[in-house]
């Protein structure tokens, strides 16, 4: 009889209100979703500044999201931001490398030659924006376009340091983690980027 009693009480415990496993399972994805929703637009714009093409930028951001989710979602959420931007910057660099290889290959093929500088004006850059018609907004849009062009002209590491520090607001340590370099290098890259940008844009701004 005592055995039955024990079994009965054990069964009662087992049969009691169990913790919802689904809730526990979905806790991380919800947090991750919140994080991704917070940074996705800025990440896209940063990728677009670097790559110019919105489709390429979207692909790189999507890949970075998937890689972060698959490989690093179990890591503490405080690490997600530098990890995400490290993945993103690696993706941008890979794509730029592929582009340069393709460009080199294309020069061997007959047909219209590409601009050797690779800095030809995108025709869409000259199309007037049909959105805002307020002069201030137009001026802001032009200022942003100039900033983007100057950023593209910067060396990649300086551009990364400037965008991560200034646009994303990462501190020096997180920027170093995202760029995979020392904090001293981040400071140097950032300082040079600001100096160059100010020299180029100072007259216009």
């Amino acid at each position: 009889m005592p055995r039955f009693g024990t079994l009965n009480s054990a069964w009662m415990v087992w049969d009691g209100p169990a913790p919802a496993p689904e809730e526990a399972v979905l806790e991380y994805p919800r947090e991750l979703e919140k994080f991704l929703a917070e940074i996705e637009r800025r990440a896209f714009r940063m990728a677009q500044v670097a790559l110019r093409d919105p489709d390429d930028a979207l692909d790189v951001v999507q890949d970075a999201m998937l890689k972060l989710a698959r490989s690093y979602s179990a890591r503490p959420s405080s690490e997600w931001r530098p990890l995400f931007y490290r993945i993103l910057e690696n993706g941008i660099r890979d794509l730029q490398r592929r582009r340069s290889v393709r460009k080199r290959f294309m020069t061997w093929l007959p047909g219209p030659k590409e601009d050797p500088e690779g800095e030809a004006q995108d025709p869409l850059d000259n199309v007037a924006d049909s959105g805002p018609t307020i002069p201030e907004a137009l001026m802001q849009g032009q200022a942003m376009q100039q900033l983007e062009q100057s950023l593209r002209a910067l060396p990649a590491r300086q551009r990364e340091a400037f965008m991560l520090r200034n646009f994303e607001g990462l501190n020096v340590a997180d920027t170093a983690s995202a760029m995979g370099c020392s904090e001293g290098s981040v400071k140097t890259h950032y300082s040079r980027a600001v100096h160059t940008l100010r020299e180029q844009l100072g007259e216009v701004w």
Partner: protein, 138 residues
């Protein structure tokens, strides 16, 4: 003092560039926002699928397992003699064993006829002897 004077324009430059960038982020059109949301959902689905307990994945694997077991069972059933028997009977076709029996019985009848043809003189004599014996006795 001189550092301050150098730092001030830098600070204003940084603020202005940050503000411009933020404006451009907020100015993204709805199509792009929608595509970003889709990308985010795909990433979340990937991590949710990874974290799902193993037994929930059986729900997906169960139909495949049942199908594989059914195919294997059918193959084994048809491959066995019992399966062949059942198949031939159910099809209404003559069984191989039955055909062998028929063939062997035909073969036996053929042997009997051959034997009759070989010893026909003996059987003729035996018949006559029997008839003459019966006539003599009668």
């Amino acid at each position: 003092m001189s550092e301050q004077r150098i730092g001030e324009p830098n600070a204003s430059f940084e603020e202005r560039s940050r503000a411009l960038f933020q404006d451009s982020v907020e100015g993204l059109d709805y199509a792009l926002r929608s595509r970003l949301t889709q990308a985010r959902n795909a990433a979340i689905e990937a991590v949710a699928a990874k974290r799902r307990p193993w037994f929930t994945r059986l729900g997906v694997l169960a139909p495949a397992g049942v199908t594989a077991a059914a195919v294997l069972g059918t193959v084994l059933w048809l491959g066995s003699p019992l399966g062949q028997h059942a198949a031939t009977v159910s099809d209404g076709q003559p069984n191989l064993e039955d055909l062998e029996l028929v063939a062997s019985s035909d073969e036996g009848a053929g042997d009997a006829l051959d034997m009759l043809q070989d010893d026909i003189e003996f059987y003729d004599w035996a018949d006559k002897a029997a008839n003459s014996g019966s006539a003599a006795s009668g």
